[in-house]
Symmetry: C2
Subunit: 420 residues, 2 copies
Amino acid sequence: MKVNALPVRGTKDFLPNEAELRDFIQHKIAETYKQFGFQKIATPVMEDIERLNKSDGGENLAMIFKILKRGQKLDLSQENLSEDDLVDSGLRYDLTMPLSRYFANNRQFLNAPFKSIQIDRVFRAERPQKGRLREFYQCDIDIIGDASQQAEMELIAATTTALENIGFSDFTLRINDRRILIDMIKYAGFHDDDVMSVCITFDKLDKIGLEGVKAELLEKEYAPEIVQKFIEVIADAESEEAALDRAAEVCSDKTVVQKLRQVIDFARDFANTNFKVVYDKSLVRGMGYYTGIVFEIVSPKFGSSIAGGGRYDNMIGKFLGESVPAVGFSIGFERICSILIDEGFVPKRSDGVILVYNDTDDFAEVVDKAKEFQALGMRVNMIKRSKKLGKQIDALIEQAGYNYMYAMDGVDELKPIGRK
Amino acid sequence: MKVNALPVRGTKDFLPNEAELRDFIQHKIAETYKQFGFQKIATPVMEDIERLNKSDGGENLAMIFKILKRGQKLDLSQENLSEDDLVDSGLRYDLTMPLSRYFANNRQFLNAPFKSIQIDRVFRAERPQKGRLREFYQCDIDIIGDASQQAEMELIAATTTALENIGFSDFTLRINDRRILIDMIKYAGFHDDDVMSVCITFDKLDKIGLEGVKAELLEKEYAPEIVQKFIEVIADAESEEAALDRAAEVCSDKTVVQKLRQVIDFARDFANTNFKVVYDKSLVRGMGYYTGIVFEIVSPKFGSSIAGGGRYDNMIGKFLGESVPAVGFSIGFERICSILIDEGFVPKRSDGVILVYNDTDDFAEVVDKAKEFQALGMRVNMIKRSKKLGKQIDALIEQAGYNYMYAMDGVDELKPIGRK
């Protein structure tokens, strides 16, 4: 009997080289974040199904993997069973909802403001044909308990430094504040109830252009004079400065644009010539829970966003019953990994010795010799001499970067092998 | 509305200090294993439900978390629904079944023999009252494709070195070969079908003693003369040497005891005075899939096993349709962590600076200063001056080991703070 050995649809086995790269990137990012005073935490991948279903996950709520109830709780004899009768937990679709729950559950033990690192698995039942994984890693930092714009600045400094530390450069940081966009929509004359729908259309500005946005809004049967006024207010200004001036005119809360300017100025100062910073009036970011500044990082080389985040001041209150400000920045870990793999990036490895022994050797002596090399900081792979030795050595050089050989039965020396 | 913030029953939130310790131990163990030539891999936590249900998981099969089918595949309108109608995948209960599947799926890309490291999550719906977690980490190394006893020796060398590297010492390595026990059972006259039942009783030898084993076997209504013969063959011998001689007499395959002696001799030689090595004729190990040598490490200080493993030569064949020898050793990661936490173990941290700034400071200058300290290898936590500053500093010293302070508005110096 031979059993199908493929992983579950939409999931992936990681080969040693991929796993090595993933570990390396995770470690490098975590080390950078720790240098900025952030602390790693860990939460379960399982969450109560009710909590998941009631969370602000937008379209992710339709992609939750649900876990069957167990034992007596599972009653299949009822009539008209619904999913709710069958499940009591599910796999998390992001790390922000669990973080909010975690903060509410553990607040008394946490530093204030709380600066967290999460690098962990999440699950979404995406259509596998999209090429997206159903089980993947996210890599988030968040600051909880700081309502000031310095929190956004810290996240920007830490995240861009992390990207630079794993070899990314020449990216662009786009910044906006959702409240400006909302006020622009209202200023044009749209009804409060239409804000979401207009946002969704506006989010496509990059792809369909100003004319496309106008056409889609008219198609949605909004009044032409309202659509026209909106198009005028969002049309390109002469300069970023002029665009921000126009935003300030429209915005009901004058501090919104003032703080946004501060964040942009900081980011530009911090970036120096290493990356670009732009005010992007069309930046919305998908998640429904953002309440203020939003940002994303795009790499023109790869044409897509490699990090994103923003302020979500209302989410933790749901768990805590008390409003707590929060802001987060998430690196698209899987995208980063696939970019680096495509580029043939190999993490720096320690030297590796292939230690060849014979079946008749005293294995304690073999291991003693291995420990000698290990003490020098080398990896040691003990391989028994057989007809396959040549092939084994070639594979270790090729796939795992071994660069020395030592034979227990040879002359007593360590020989460099493999690629120059 | 306030939502319950507790994690799912049987799971746990890890506070920053716990997460830090867990990361440190995982990293240290992985580094040790890499030095022995092992390679980290990663597999999904989700597996096909059929594969899980048909695997050699023993009692773990009753503890699988099952995942609901999705979309059209889920038909709740049928009558007499069974669990099988509802689920198509589940969460893995160990890392050995996924490794076997992984090897079959990826063999052509892997070094031979394949020496793998897995440090990852598994899930078991244990009764939460046992104090066991339902979502926890395992930490395994395995050698696939090496039928010789040197593979066992490598695992013993690597695992005991890893334990020593995280500060464990004075432990005892117990070794046995399942085939000896099975031959002893048959030698006494038990029927082949009774082997499992006798093993289960014999596994309790440590707890109930020889008399207890005898009583339980008689209670199971085995013939008194068979039970008596079994008790005689398993009774304490004068010495380990004598016990192994007796094992050799009973064992049908003479190489079994010969190889076991070699492994014990190697382990004792390797251990030197660092840990103890014993032949333990009562060692069974729970998992049904072991086929040869089994081992476990116990720490007398904590009275329980902290690592265990053995040879399982039949498992990979199920997926590959071709028999491949395999042997693995698993460190009880959660037990190790709870022992180290109880002992108040704190991983070595880099120096930490609390960098105090004012709301009116130019934040770019604050971050520049932070980068100066980071360049010296220090962690830097930027904290805005407020009435809470004293409390914040105390907490950072206490909970995160910060040991320096620098104030942007102070005289220009880095001051040591906190505990001596």
